[in-house]
Symmetry: C2
Subunit: 201 residues, 2 copies
Amino acid sequence: MTTTPRVRMSPASRREQLLELGVRLLADRSLDEISIELLAEQAGISRGLLYHYFGNKQDFHRAVVRRAADELIEVTAPTSHDDPMEQLTASLGAYVDYVAENYQGYVSLVRAASTDESLHEIYEQARAALTGRLFEVAGREQLAALGISDSAATRLMVRGWSAFTEETVISWVRAPAGVSREELLQRLAQGLVALVQEPVR
Amino acid sequence: MTTTPRVRMSPASRREQLLELGVRLLADRSLDEISIELLAEQAGISRGLLYHYFGNKQDFHRAVVRRAADELIEVTAPTSHDDPMEQLTASLGAYVDYVAENYQGYVSLVRAASTDESLHEIYEQARAALTGRLFEVAGREQLAALGISDSAATRLMVRGWSAFTEETVISWVRAPAGVSREELLQRLAQGLVALVQEPVR
């Protein structure tokens, strides 16, 4: 930590700073490895104070996961309103980079979210936020430009596509299989368009 | 159990029979709800004897999950060598029916396999068996007929497609979103063909 201890921070800022440290620690560690003890050691403050901020390990993990999810939503936010495929590809590129840079923590989050109810809720909210953009006003126009309408069936397929994307990106980071980042992004973006279209009878 | 207790069974047959009962119990219960106690009660034998067959709860769960995975692989086995899309659709139909009939247990298995290392291994083996068929001799010819070649990139996309299929089918069983079983199968099968094709530059 580069902060000088003499600066008195508000409890809220202090908590923010600790959460950011927790998220940074998560980049190359699994969630299980992020203990209150490790955070206290890295932040140079007492465990007692950390328990004061976060209650217990589970609450601390929940707060770190929520913060990591917020970061992911932020870095993948659409930045322009140009060509819809370019915009989708740019968001996917940010997602791929995020997973690559935070691989250990990201994989452990996805796994933990499967069995822990409260983490599952945060995970589902993040997924809804990430895919929901496609159905917001600007996104809906872009979907229409790709020949896709917003329907219950489309939403079902988008949900499936998000699982496809998550699995493919995690597997690609582990073993790229001769697929370049550019080709991966094309495959993911074109995959969405293909999956949501009406099936051929 | 319809077996009369007077019939003396071999330990192997007895174990088989108990495993089958475990898998049947899993249809509408989560894995956590399948205890040695419940199995003992349902089978009408002592808990001590069950511990003799399965060691402990974890070993018992592992054996039940392995058996459930074997069943899934069996029911979705290709039955004919006709049109490749029809064959794929038939296998997917069996998969969809399996998930619908064993919803509680299936979802709990998928979730448990995320965090429990030994269940994860069984899950990955089952997935490899289910998707690997596409790359076996008969399957490879059929892939070629669909214009798909076997490559590392194809295998990466098939892995992603299997996550898409799992998520879409689980979500569809929970809420069909106006999508008929037939349309779902078309979307899943055509999704595979679309995802493994070379991206458009």
